[in-house]
Symmetry: C2
Subunit: 162 residues, 2 copies
Protein backbone atom coordinates (compact mmCIF):
# COMPACT_ATOMS: atom_id res chain seq x y z
CA UNK A 1 0.00 0.00 0.00
CA UNK A 2 1.46 3.35 -0.94
CA UNK A 3 2.23 6.01 1.66
CA UNK A 4 -0.42 8.22 0.03
CA UNK A 5 -3.11 5.58 0.49
CA UNK A 6 -2.09 5.02 4.10
CA UNK A 7 -2.23 8.77 4.71
CA UNK A 8 -5.66 9.05 3.10
CA UNK A 9 -6.98 6.11 5.11
CA UNK A 10 -5.59 7.66 8.29
CA UNK A 11 -7.24 10.96 7.44
CA UNK A 12 -10.55 9.26 6.71
CA UNK A 13 -10.32 7.39 10.00
CA UNK A 14 -9.66 10.60 11.88
CA UNK A 15 -12.54 12.39 10.16
CA UNK A 16 -15.02 9.57 10.73
CA UNK A 17 -13.87 8.91 14.30
CA UNK A 18 -13.15 5.28 13.49
CA UNK A 19 -10.02 3.46 14.57
CA UNK A 20 -7.12 3.40 12.12
CA UNK A 21 -5.05 0.29 12.62
CA UNK A 22 -1.31 0.25 12.07
CA UNK A 23 0.46 -2.84 10.86
CA UNK A 24 1.14 -3.85 14.46
CA UNK A 25 -2.51 -3.79 15.53
CA UNK A 26 -2.24 -0.46 17.37
CA UNK A 27 -4.56 2.46 16.55
CA UNK A 28 -2.61 5.60 15.63
CA UNK A 29 -1.31 7.65 18.59
CA UNK A 30 -0.94 11.42 18.01
CA UNK A 31 2.35 13.13 18.81
CA UNK A 32 2.00 14.62 22.32
CA UNK A 33 2.08 18.31 21.41
CA UNK A 34 3.20 20.56 24.27
CA UNK A 35 4.26 17.78 26.63
CA UNK A 36 7.32 19.75 27.77
CA UNK A 37 5.08 22.04 29.79
CA UNK A 38 3.21 19.15 31.47
CA UNK A 39 3.94 17.93 34.99
CA UNK A 40 7.18 16.02 35.52
CA UNK A 41 6.48 12.64 37.13
CA UNK A 42 10.03 11.45 37.79
CA UNK A 43 13.42 10.87 36.18
CA UNK A 44 16.20 8.31 35.98
CA UNK A 45 19.58 8.02 34.30
CA UNK A 46 21.45 5.05 32.86
CA UNK A 47 25.19 5.60 32.55
CA UNK A 48 27.82 3.74 30.54
CA UNK A 49 28.60 1.48 33.48
CA UNK A 50 25.18 -0.18 33.20
CA UNK A 51 24.54 -3.17 30.88
CA UNK A 52 21.42 -1.44 29.44
CA UNK A 53 23.42 1.59 28.29
CA UNK A 54 23.50 0.69 24.60
CA UNK A 55 19.73 0.19 24.51
CA UNK A 56 18.53 2.71 27.10
CA UNK A 57 21.41 5.02 28.07
CA UNK A 58 20.86 8.61 29.18
CA UNK A 59 18.16 10.54 31.03
CA UNK A 60 14.61 9.24 31.08
CA UNK A 61 12.08 11.93 32.04
CA UNK A 62 8.40 11.07 32.48
CA UNK A 63 5.66 13.67 31.94
CA UNK A 64 1.89 13.55 32.54
CA UNK A 65 -0.89 15.68 31.10
CA UNK A 66 -3.42 16.98 33.67
CA UNK A 67 -5.65 13.89 33.33
CA UNK A 68 -2.73 11.51 33.80
CA UNK A 69 -1.43 13.57 36.73
CA UNK A 70 -4.80 13.06 38.41
CA UNK A 71 -4.43 9.36 37.61
CA UNK A 72 -1.05 9.12 39.33
CA UNK A 73 -2.57 10.78 42.40
CA UNK A 74 -5.80 8.75 42.58
CA UNK A 75 -4.54 5.42 41.19
CA UNK A 76 -7.11 5.47 38.36
CA UNK A 77 -6.12 6.90 35.00
CA UNK A 78 -9.08 8.69 33.36
CA UNK A 79 -9.85 8.67 29.64
CA UNK A 80 -7.58 11.13 27.87
CA UNK A 81 -4.60 10.45 30.13
CA UNK A 82 -1.32 10.90 28.26
CA UNK A 83 2.05 9.83 29.62
CA UNK A 84 5.31 10.65 27.86
CA UNK A 85 8.81 9.27 28.40
CA UNK A 86 11.34 11.75 27.03
CA UNK A 87 14.70 10.05 26.36
CA UNK A 88 17.68 12.43 26.37
CA UNK A 89 21.38 11.61 26.07
CA UNK A 90 23.45 12.18 29.20
CA UNK A 91 26.73 13.99 28.55
CA UNK A 92 29.19 12.63 31.12
CA UNK A 93 31.94 15.06 32.18
CA UNK A 94 33.95 13.49 35.01
CA UNK A 95 30.77 12.09 36.53
CA UNK A 96 28.67 15.24 36.03
CA UNK A 97 25.81 14.43 33.65
CA UNK A 98 24.07 17.10 31.60
CA UNK A 99 21.38 16.77 28.97
CA UNK A 100 22.29 16.47 25.30
CA UNK A 101 20.23 15.34 22.29
CA UNK A 102 16.79 13.76 22.52
CA UNK A 103 16.88 10.16 21.30
CA UNK A 104 13.17 9.28 21.34
CA UNK A 105 9.74 10.10 22.77
CA UNK A 106 7.51 7.30 24.07
CA UNK A 107 3.79 7.93 24.46
CA UNK A 108 0.89 6.16 26.16
CA UNK A 109 -2.66 7.45 25.60
CA UNK A 110 -5.71 6.13 27.49
CA UNK A 111 -8.82 5.63 25.35
CA UNK A 112 -10.71 2.43 26.04
CA UNK A 113 -12.60 2.54 22.75
CA UNK A 114 -9.91 3.66 20.36
CA UNK A 115 -7.27 1.38 21.85
CA UNK A 116 -9.49 -1.53 22.87
CA UNK A 117 -7.17 -3.95 21.07
CA UNK A 118 -4.26 -2.95 23.33
CA UNK A 119 -5.96 -2.98 26.74
CA UNK A 120 -7.29 0.59 26.55
CA UNK A 121 -3.95 2.30 25.98
CA UNK A 122 -2.36 3.41 22.73
CA UNK A 123 1.43 3.13 22.50
CA UNK A 124 3.90 4.85 20.21
CA UNK A 125 7.59 5.73 20.04
CA UNK A 126 8.73 8.75 18.01
CA UNK A 127 12.33 8.77 16.85
CA UNK A 128 14.60 11.62 18.06
CA UNK A 129 12.88 14.98 17.63
CA UNK A 130 10.62 13.73 14.86
CA UNK A 131 6.87 14.10 15.33
CA UNK A 132 6.14 11.75 12.44
CA UNK A 133 8.77 8.98 12.47
CA UNK A 134 6.98 6.23 14.37
CA UNK A 135 8.86 3.11 15.41
CA UNK A 136 6.28 0.87 17.10
CA UNK A 137 5.32 -1.86 14.66
CA UNK A 138 3.66 -4.36 17.00
CA UNK A 139 2.34 -2.73 20.17
CA UNK A 140 1.13 -6.02 21.62
CA UNK A 141 4.54 -7.62 21.78
CA UNK A 142 6.68 -4.44 21.96
CA UNK A 143 4.66 -2.59 24.63
CA UNK A 144 1.58 -4.27 26.07
CA UNK A 145 3.21 -7.59 27.00
CA UNK A 146 5.61 -5.97 29.45
CA UNK A 147 3.24 -3.19 30.60
CA UNK A 148 0.70 -5.87 31.60
CA UNK A 149 3.09 -7.26 34.22
CA UNK A 150 2.47 -7.31 37.97
CA UNK A 151 4.58 -4.20 38.66
CA UNK A 152 2.29 -1.92 36.66
CA UNK A 153 -0.95 -0.19 37.70
CA UNK A 154 -3.33 -0.08 34.71
CA UNK A 155 -0.27 -0.69 32.49
CA UNK A 156 1.65 2.24 34.06
CA UNK A 157 4.97 1.42 35.75
CA UNK A 158 5.94 4.79 37.17
CA UNK A 159 4.88 6.43 40.44
CA UNK A 160 4.69 10.19 40.92
CA UNK A 161 7.72 11.47 42.86
CA UNK A 162 6.48 13.71 45.72
CA UNK B 1 14.14 37.70 69.34
CA UNK B 2 11.75 34.84 70.01
CA UNK B 3 10.31 32.75 67.20
CA UNK B 4 6.85 34.07 68.09
CA UNK B 5 7.95 37.67 67.64
CA UNK B 6 9.62 36.83 64.32
CA UNK B 7 6.44 35.10 63.17
CA UNK B 8 4.30 38.05 64.22
CA UNK B 9 6.60 40.51 62.48
CA UNK B 10 6.52 38.36 59.33
CA UNK B 11 2.73 38.23 59.49
CA UNK B 12 2.51 42.01 59.98
CA UNK B 13 4.83 42.49 57.03
CA UNK B 14 2.68 40.28 54.85
CA UNK B 15 -0.51 42.04 55.94
CA UNK B 16 0.87 45.52 55.43
CA UNK B 17 2.59 44.67 52.17
CA UNK B 18 5.92 45.88 53.50
CA UNK B 19 9.16 43.99 53.14
CA UNK B 20 10.27 41.76 56.00
CA UNK B 21 14.02 41.49 56.09
CA UNK B 22 15.84 38.37 57.22
CA UNK B 23 19.17 38.57 59.00
CA UNK B 24 20.94 38.24 55.65
CA UNK B 25 19.26 41.22 54.05
CA UNK B 26 16.87 39.15 51.92
CA UNK B 27 13.09 39.71 52.07
CA UNK B 28 11.24 36.52 52.99
CA UNK B 29 10.60 34.10 50.11
CA UNK B 30 7.48 31.91 50.40
CA UNK B 31 7.75 28.14 49.97
CA UNK B 32 6.86 27.39 46.32
CA UNK B 33 3.59 25.52 46.90
CA UNK B 34 2.66 23.16 44.07
CA UNK B 35 5.92 23.47 42.15
CA UNK B 36 5.92 19.75 41.32
CA UNK B 37 3.16 20.31 38.79
CA UNK B 38 4.98 23.23 37.11
CA UNK B 39 6.92 22.94 33.85
CA UNK B 40 10.23 21.09 34.01
CA UNK B 41 13.03 23.27 32.61
CA UNK B 42 15.90 20.79 32.62
CA UNK B 43 17.84 18.33 34.76
CA UNK B 44 21.36 17.28 35.61
CA UNK B 45 23.02 14.67 37.81
CA UNK B 46 26.27 14.71 39.77
CA UNK B 47 27.61 11.25 40.60
CA UNK B 48 30.19 10.13 43.15
CA UNK B 49 32.95 10.36 40.57
CA UNK B 50 32.65 14.16 40.46
CA UNK B 51 34.53 16.44 42.91
CA UNK B 52 31.29 18.33 43.69
CA UNK B 53 29.52 15.19 44.87
CA UNK B 54 29.76 15.91 48.59
CA UNK B 55 28.30 19.39 48.14
CA UNK B 56 25.93 18.90 45.19
CA UNK B 57 25.55 15.18 44.50
CA UNK B 58 22.37 13.72 42.98
CA UNK B 59 19.67 14.89 40.59
CA UNK B 60 19.03 18.60 40.12
CA UNK B 61 15.63 19.29 38.54
CA UNK B 62 14.61 22.84 37.62
CA UNK B 63 10.95 23.91 37.50
CA UNK B 64 9.27 27.13 36.33
CA UNK B 65 5.84 28.55 37.15
CA UNK B 66 3.88 29.83 34.11
CA UNK B 67 5.36 33.34 34.39
CA UNK B 68 8.92 32.02 34.57
CA UNK B 69 8.26 29.60 31.71
CA UNK B 70 7.27 32.60 29.58
CA UNK B 71 10.50 34.24 30.74
CA UNK B 72 12.64 31.33 29.60
CA UNK B 73 10.95 31.52 26.20
CA UNK B 74 11.11 35.29 25.72
CA UNK B 75 14.35 36.04 27.56
CA UNK B 76 12.62 38.47 29.95
CA UNK B 77 11.37 37.17 33.28
CA UNK B 78 8.13 38.93 34.29
CA UNK B 79 7.20 39.92 37.83
CA UNK B 80 5.93 36.87 39.69
CA UNK B 81 8.34 34.48 37.99
CA UNK B 82 9.29 31.62 40.30
CA UNK B 83 12.09 29.15 39.57
CA UNK B 84 12.74 26.10 41.72
CA UNK B 85 15.73 23.76 41.86
CA UNK B 86 14.66 20.45 43.38
CA UNK B 87 17.66 18.49 44.69
CA UNK B 88 17.10 14.74 44.93
CA UNK B 89 19.57 12.01 45.87
CA UNK B 90 20.59 9.68 43.04
CA UNK B 91 20.56 5.99 44.04
CA UNK B 92 23.35 4.36 42.01
CA UNK B 93 22.79 0.67 41.17
CA UNK B 94 25.55 -0.48 38.83
CA UNK B 95 25.41 2.82 36.96
CA UNK B 96 21.60 3.05 36.85
CA UNK B 97 20.53 6.13 38.83
CA UNK B 98 17.06 6.42 40.35
CA UNK B 99 15.62 9.14 42.56
CA UNK B 100 15.76 8.83 46.32
CA UNK B 101 15.25 11.42 49.07
CA UNK B 102 14.92 15.15 48.47
CA UNK B 103 17.84 17.01 50.00
CA UNK B 104 16.80 20.64 49.46
CA UNK B 105 14.61 23.03 47.47
CA UNK B 106 16.10 26.26 46.10
CA UNK B 107 13.79 29.09 45.09
CA UNK B 108 14.13 32.32 43.13
CA UNK B 109 11.18 34.76 43.02
CA UNK B 110 11.08 37.85 40.81
CA UNK B 111 9.63 40.96 42.49
CA UNK B 112 11.53 44.16 41.80
CA UNK B 113 10.00 46.01 44.75
CA UNK B 114 10.00 43.34 47.41
CA UNK B 115 13.49 42.11 46.53
CA UNK B 116 15.03 45.42 45.46
CA UNK B 117 17.96 44.82 47.81
CA UNK B 118 18.92 41.63 45.92
CA UNK B 119 18.62 42.81 42.32
CA UNK B 120 14.89 42.12 41.98
CA UNK B 121 14.99 38.44 42.90
CA UNK B 122 14.34 36.80 46.26
CA UNK B 123 16.42 33.73 47.08
CA UNK B 124 15.82 30.93 49.57
CA UNK B 125 16.86 27.34 50.22
CA UNK B 126 14.54 25.00 52.12
CA UNK B 127 16.12 22.00 53.81
CA UNK B 128 14.99 18.51 52.72
CA UNK B 129 11.20 18.30 52.58
CA UNK B 130 10.72 21.12 55.07
CA UNK B 131 8.63 24.08 53.99
CA UNK B 132 9.81 26.18 56.93
CA UNK B 133 13.49 25.32 57.55
CA UNK B 134 15.26 28.11 55.66
CA UNK B 135 19.01 28.00 55.20
CA UNK B 136 19.92 31.21 53.34
CA UNK B 137 21.39 33.64 55.84
CA UNK B 138 23.06 36.15 53.51
CA UNK B 139 21.50 36.17 50.04
CA UNK B 140 23.94 38.74 48.73
CA UNK B 141 27.02 36.61 49.21
CA UNK B 142 25.40 33.17 49.08
CA UNK B 143 23.23 33.70 45.98
CA UNK B 144 23.36 37.08 44.25
CA UNK B 145 27.14 37.28 43.86
CA UNK B 146 27.33 34.18 41.68
CA UNK B 147 23.96 34.71 39.94
CA UNK B 148 25.15 38.16 38.82
CA UNK B 149 27.92 36.60 36.73
CA UNK B 150 28.22 36.82 32.96
CA UNK B 151 26.73 33.37 32.31
CA UNK B 152 23.33 34.34 33.71
CA UNK B 153 20.40 36.14 32.05
CA UNK B 154 18.68 38.38 34.61
CA UNK B 155 20.37 36.27 37.32
CA UNK B 156 19.07 33.00 35.82
CA UNK B 157 21.67 30.43 34.73
CA UNK B 158 19.48 27.75 33.17
CA UNK B 159 18.06 27.52 29.66
CA UNK B 160 14.83 25.72 28.81
CA UNK B 161 15.51 22.33 27.25
CA UNK B 162 13.41 22.00 24.05
Amino acid sequence: MSRLVVTLLALMGTLSGSVVTQSGGNATVPYPEGFRSWAHVKSALISERHPDFARSGGFRHIYANPAALAGYRTGTFPEGSIIVVDWVEGQDTNGSFTEAARTRVDVMVKDKTRYAATKGWGFERFNGNSQTERTVTAADSQCVACHSGPNATDLVFSKLRP
